[in-house]
Amino acid sequence: MMSTPIATEIVILLAGLLFVLGIVGVIIRKNIIFMLLSVEIMLNAAGLAFVAAGSRWAQPDGQVMFIFILAMAAAEVSVGLALILRIYHQHKSLDIDKLKEMKG
């Protein structure tokens, strides 16, 4: 067993950076498709943190959690894209400011 030089902190920091980029994307974009993409980035960052923690103690639990995140992302994307298609057919726009007329 040898120790790799890749420090735990740096990997966790990378995950945090990716998560912040995802949050920034959700906040600054007005197109729903881009917001969904940013949510994907955030899910990926959470998965990276799980895998890094699992690799730190050489346990498979982190990878198991990543598989669960993957399944959840697949379900979320399928429902979200179906919703986007419906919204585009009804409103002819993907602008979230126009969709506030849905009232909740």
């Binding site: 067993m1 120790s3 790799t4 030089p5 890749i6 420090a7 735990t8 902190e9 990997v11 920091l13 990378l14 945090g16 950076l17 990716l18 912040v20 980029l21 995802g22 949050i23 994307g25 906040i27 600054i28 974009r29 007005k30 197109n31 498709i33 881009f34 993409l37 994907e40 980035i41 990926n44 990276l48 895998v51 890094a52 699992g54 690799s55 050489a58 346990q59 498979p60 639990d61 982190g62 990878q63 198991v64 598989i67 669960f68 993957l70 959840m72 992302a73 697949a74 379900a75 979320e76 994307v77 399928s78 429902v79 894209l81 179906a82 919703l83 298609l85 419906r86 585009y88 993907l94």
Partner: protein
């Protein structure tokens, strides 16, 4: 003994350099994703980001998850996105719209605030005690054993979630036809 140590140090250096290059590629492509105007360009950069993230998983000794990342994320989920963008026919006018929406006055506030949060996170992580990995590759066998013994209930819950996702997507996506009474139906020409 000396030579062995030297080769080990060289190995460490190589791994570190690989990691930093890959981390840079990941961050750069993610920044490109959230700043592109054209949806297809953003998707291409997101695929690059996912691929480099899978390289990082590989460096961390998790090859199974690295493969899953490529197959499911970069393969399946991105294809779904591309299909939807093709269906909606988002082209040049969307890019022009995005360009009009993405003004600095919109994003400068959130970026400053999240940078503050990021600096706090940076300090907290750097201030902790340093620790390094024991590189032990956790292969797919260990993952599968863990997945189907202590996490079995989680697997079943994920299966139910996927089922609900499929049914929900099919229900939301179906086109509703206007149903008239059969006497009111117009004559087919």
């Amino acid at each position: 003994m000396k030579i062995h140590q030297l080769t080990y140090i060289a190995y460490c250096l190589k791994m570190n350099i690989f990691f930093y290059i890959t981390a840079f590629v990941t961050l750069f492509s993610t920044i490109m994703v959230i700043t592109r105007h054209n949806p297809v360009h953003a998707l291409l950069y997101l695929v690059i980001s996912l691929l480099s993230l899978s390289v990082i998983f590989f460096l961390l000794g998790a090859p199974f998850v690295a493969l899953l990342e490529i197959i499911i994320y970069a393969g399946a989920i991105m294809v779904l996105f591309i299909f939807v963008i093709m269906l909606l026919n988002l082209g040049k006018e969307t890019a022009a719209q995005e360009k009009a929406w993405l003004k600095p006055t919109v994003w400068i506030g959130p970026v400053i605030l999240s940078t503050i949060l990021l600096l706090e996170l940076f300090y907290l992580i750097i201030a902790a005690q340093p620790s390094s990995y024991n590189l032990q590759i956790v292969d797919s066998k260990a993952v599968a054993i863990s997945l189907f013994t202590p996490y079995l209930i989680g697997v079943e819950l994920a299966a139910m979630l996927l089922m609900a996702g499929v049914v929900g997507a099919a229900h939301i996506g179906q086109q509703k036809k206007t149903v008239l009474h059969r006497f009111l139906k117009e004559e087919e020409p």
